[in-house]
Amino acid sequence: MSEPSAARGRRRAQILVVSAIVASLALVGVYLAAGGSSYTPEKTQDPCQHRPWRDPEGLDEIAEQFSLSALDGAACKLGVSRETLVQALATPEARERFGDRYGIDEAELARAIRAGLLRAISDAEEAGALSPLLAAPLRGTIKDIPLDQAIELIQNARSLLDTAQSFLGPAEGLLETLLP
């Protein structure tokens, strides 16, 4: 290769390498600026931190908020996320896998869920969604209930609220009056 063409060849090689560096850095820079390093699943919230209740519109909504508070309370007690606990309570098999994975036996799970239900009653009271008149019998109801029943109450808190109504007598519509 002659001297000028060798120099031209070197210059072209340099231009090619510099262009490659610029193109690569530009691509990575643009993707990072567009959020490339934070495109990950959102982190779940700490269940031990209090979550404010949404404005309840009816008994079903109160029951839902109650269940979520109960889940938070139980998950906080067990040291797992609320979401992990929900998945664990979906089926008996999932519950077994959860127990094996986290080394939690049925008794511990039952204690945690009862604690969660108690926290939900307090949260409901604090949110003004549950009258203290109802809270007391509810606490009494869940104090010693077995695990399966406790899980059922979390999954269907409406039944718990209906049970509370029975403590107050058969008066029709009383529960709806006591709940905002």
């Binding site: 490659a20 691509l27 982190k43 979401e83």
Partner: protein, 456 residues
């Protein structure tokens, strides 16, 4: 020799293209094989790894055999073995038999590819031109492989990828049989008498590293598209065709730069840049994979041709040194797959867990009516259970949509948010592996800096 040179050159090029396409042709079929043979991601990786590992180990011994018993006979027998093993692959209904057949296929393929490089100079008149045809045939095969594989998987089945190779390999063997017969009648063709020198250490080392990075790019991108983002094999084939198209552009670009080291360095940087781009995807959008793929495609054609040229220049016999380059490239693919698969499988398990947690949070906090929420949660749980650890498809869990317009809108919002969390998990699961692939490409710059081309 009785066969006319032109059909023989075409047959040799076809043989090289067919064999080198085989490591990439199967990439798009892997998710289908993964599901049909009910295996794991690590397990299905062996369909690729076994072929590349045996190619890496068999390439140089195959070249030595070709020089000893005759390249015509070696190529013809190699193609026959390749065809027979292809038939066995197509009939496999278990991962173990498929992997075994792939190993045998690689032995035949290594013999056919290295013997072809020995046969080509006699047909085209010069070693340099023979090496160029050989490299171009291999690159074309590797470039077309994924698209053909995706097409066949979607339109017919993954088995058809292997079954279609049988008649093609046999057709390629026919013109070569004439050379084999000639060798049997007259003895081995006169071959290069120069002593076999040492292989080009730095060029082959760089080839191995860059091949590891490129294998990571192709394998991981296809898995991300099909398993993570739920594209069909044909859709994924269309998407990854960007890479070979960019590679064609890259080879034209390379013609303007005589310095092999300059081309190799630029190529390695572009491959790394593209992989880093895939590692930092800001969204689960197919269009966002196009710019990184363009960089990878441009880079791979520049770096592979420059390093192969460097490894072969001034070295004889070409078949043996061609064998070393095949060996280095396929060893690199194996290293890339074996090193990155465990990392990405562990990541995908963790990300799946995080995505499901995030998705559960979305469902729990959604503003749909509690009763509907419970029903949806149950349908979603049964879908997750049914997917057995794979990235779940959530769409069917939302069908049929509620008839009430308000509920319908809320459910659609929920479905979008849930899908977003799963997309985030699936995409992020591949990030670390892409970034490690980018690092491998950058490390290859060291042997590239040390490599010098020897002029004949």
């Amino acid at each position: 020799m009785s066969a006319a040179p032109r059909p023989r050159v075409a047959a040799l090029a076809l043989a090289v293209g067919l064999v080198l396409a085989d490591s990439s042709v199967v990439v798009l079929a892997l998710p289908e094989i993964y599901r049909e043979l009910d295996t794991s991601v690590s397990g299905v990786t062996w369909v690729l790894v076994s072929f590349n590992l045996v190619m890496a180990l068999a390439a140089v011994p195959a070249a030595l055999i070709a020089r000893r018993v005759g390249p015509g006979r070696t190529a013809a027998v190699g193609l026959a073995i390749f065809a027979g093993a292809g038939l066995a692959c197509g009939l496999s209904d278990q991962l173990s038999t498929l992997v075994l057949a792939r190993c045998v296929q690689a032995v035949g393929g290594a013999a056919a590819v290295t013997a072809s490089l020995e046969l080509l100079p006699a047909s085209v008149g010069s070693e340099r031109r023979a090496a160029a045809i050989w490299a171009a045939a291999g690159a074309t095969g590797a470039a077309l492989g994924p698209a053909i594989g995706g097409l066949l998987t979607e339109l017919v089945s993954w088995q058809s990828i292997f079954l279609i190779q049988v008649p093609i390999a046999l057709a390629a063997a026919v013109p070569i049989l004439a050379v084999a017969k000639h060798e049997a009648a007259t003895g081995i063709l006169p071959t290069e008498l120069r002593r076999t020198g040492r292989p080009h250490l730095w060029a082959n080392l760089a080839l191995a590293m860059v091949s590891a990075a490129i294998a990571a790019a192709l394998f991981l991108l296809v898995l991300l598209l099909i398993e993570g983002w739920r594209l069909s094999p044909i859709g994924a084939a269309l998407v990854v065709t960007v890479m070979p198209l960019a590679a064609i552009l890259g080879s034209r670009l390379g013609n303007f730069v005589p310095s092999a080291r300059g081309r190799a360095a630029a190529g390695a940087i572009l491959v790394s840049g593209g992989l880093a781009g895939l590692g930092f995807l800001p969204k689960a959008e197919v269009a966002l994979t196009v710019p990184p793929q363009i960089l990878i495609g441009l880079g791979l054609s520049l770096v592979l041709s420059a390093l192969t040229e460097t490894a072969l220049s001034g070295r004889a016999p070409q078949a043996i040194h061609g064998g070393w380059t095949i060996s280095a490239r396929h060893a690199g693919v194996v290293i890339g797959l074996l090193a990155l698969t465990p990392i990405f499988t562990a990541d995908i398990a963790q990300q799946r867990h995080d995505a499901i947690d995030a998705g559960t949070a979305v469902v729990l906090d959604a503003r749909v009516s509690p009763l509907l929420k419970i029903e949806l949660a149950q349908r979603l749980a049964s879908r997750l259970e049914g997917e057995k650890g794979k990235v779940p498809t959530i769409g069917p869990a939302f069908e049929p949509l509620p008839s009430d317009p308000g509920d319908r809108e809320d459910v659609e919002v929920l479905r979008g948010e849930l899908q977003d969390q799963l997309d985030r998990g699936a995409t992020h699961a591949f990030s670390l592996s892409f970034l490690l692939g980018a690092l491998l490409g950058l490390i290859a710059l060291f042997p590239i800096a040390l490599s010098r081309r020897v002029e004949l």
